[in-house]
């Protein structure tokens, strides 16, 4: 099952740019882009940092893609 995230929507809602987010979390802009496009699953450490950064519950940021028919 694929992990889906809402980082892009939450980031845009808070008016934060990709570069600002990369600077604050000390990751590259390419990584931010890859996470937002669901091409890369962040490590548990980075995922926890993201939750703390956006101040949202984990289920709002990440969730498992529901299989078809459910």
């Amino acid at each position: 099952m694929k992990v889906i995230n809402h980082i892009k929507e939450i980031r845009q809602k808070k008016g934060i740019t990709q570069v600002k987010m990369a600077e604050d979390l000390q990751i590259t802009r390419q990584t931010v882009n890859a996470i937002e496009k669901n091409k890369y699953n962040p490590s548990l450490e980075l995922a926890l940092k993201l939750i703390q950064y956006f101040d949202v519950p984990i289920e709002e940021l990440f969730y498992l893609e529901k299989p078809e028919g459910e």
């Binding site: 600077e23 990751i27 590259t28």
Partner: protein
């Protein structure tokens, strides 16, 4: 050791190695030719220092453009790991295959000079690939 101290140490070692390598070159050429050309020493030192200054200016410009974003993070380390693993197998089996093909073609002797050139090309390709992988 903090990050800045580590960077200074790394750069000191790299610059030191470059200069020592240059001096070694002067010594080897002098030994072969029978005459030591000390004028090259200035060129070596100026070249290394100039190269370092260009790198410093480039990294400053890069920092200005991208802000305080790190060069490497967890994703680039992962990408680099898989790239180097791929390179290991390609080089290991690739060079073996090339040797077998050359042997079957009737090439039974290889000049060491040619091997050095081949290895240099290989290192450059691997380095180029690593730079591209880091930027992915």
């Amino acid at each position: 050791m903090n990050n800045q101290k580590l960077q200074i140490t790394i750069w000191s070692v790299v610059i030191g190695c470059m200069i020592i390598g240059g001096f070694l070159g002067v010594y080897i050429i002098g030994k072969e030719a029978g005459e030591y050309n000390y004028e090259i020493v200035i060129a070596i030192i100026v070249g290394v220092v100039l190269g370092f200054i260009i790198y410093l200016l480039f990294s400053k410009w890069n920092k200005k453009r991208n802000g305080n974003v790190p060069d490497v993070d967890e994703r680039s380390v992962l990408l680099m790991k898989s790239y180097l693993m791929g390179v290991l197998y390609v080089v290991l089996f690739g060079s073996g295959a090339v040797l077998l093909i050359l042997y079957s073609m009737g090439v039974h002797f290889i000049e060491t000079g040619l091997l050095i050139v081949c290895m240099m090309g290989l290192y450059m390709l691997i380095g180029l690939g690593a730079i591209i992988t880091k930027r992915l």
